[in-house]
Subunit: 130 residues, 2 copies
Amino acid sequence: MVSTVQPTSDTRETRRLISSEKVTATAVQNARGDSLGHIEDIMIDKISGQVAYAVLNYGSFLGLMGGKLFAVPWDMLKYNTQRSAYVIDVPEERLKNAPSFDEGSEPEWGDRDYDRRLHDYYGSKADWYM
Amino acid sequence: MVSTVQPTSDTRETRRLISSEKVTATAVQNARGDSLGHIEDIMIDKISGQVAYAVLNYGSFLGLMGGKLFAVPWDMLKYNTQRSAYVIDVPEERLKNAPSFDEGSEPEWGDRDYDRRLHDYYGSKADWYM
């Protein structure tokens, strides 16, 4: 397809915004483009409105038993507009062995030690939140 | 109730994080504490993970016909931990006459002119997004 419009970094992204409901339907992939699972929920800082964590459900892709959820610091997920997916560039072994919680239960949201553990585990740079 | 713990600005807020699903069940009030309606949806910047807009449904409180939704820049809503509600301190006449869209339709999400119109209307300071 021939386009007369030069792509620039300023190209309007009409889909820059996404409804929180639709985020949970967005695919999550590894760097190679394999599907890792989906976003089950997102945790938002009430005050700042910044998304703190994506809650990921890897299904059986990582050889996990079902029913485990993983809170991943938001800055570990990069949105890839070509793939219309979030990409998480973390080795699978590390994803599998990350802190998790059972579906239907709630981890220590807002607990500083829990937050630090998660951020340290993934090497998150999101110190705005700590 | 006597507390031996000095309240400080560093007091742990265990409910600092909220699930995106639950945000939509959170009440919205005016400065006096009257219920204005509820958050119908939130629009998130895919890349930064920052909430850009709350989509508000005022129901009939403002004397509006049903079915109208209002995209309000997130920084116009202040979370009040005592009331467990978001407070929007904007005169009712201004809320009523704000840009709105019909339920079931979608406004020009991501359109710069639309964004600017909304931010200007509410006097939003959220220039990170513009």
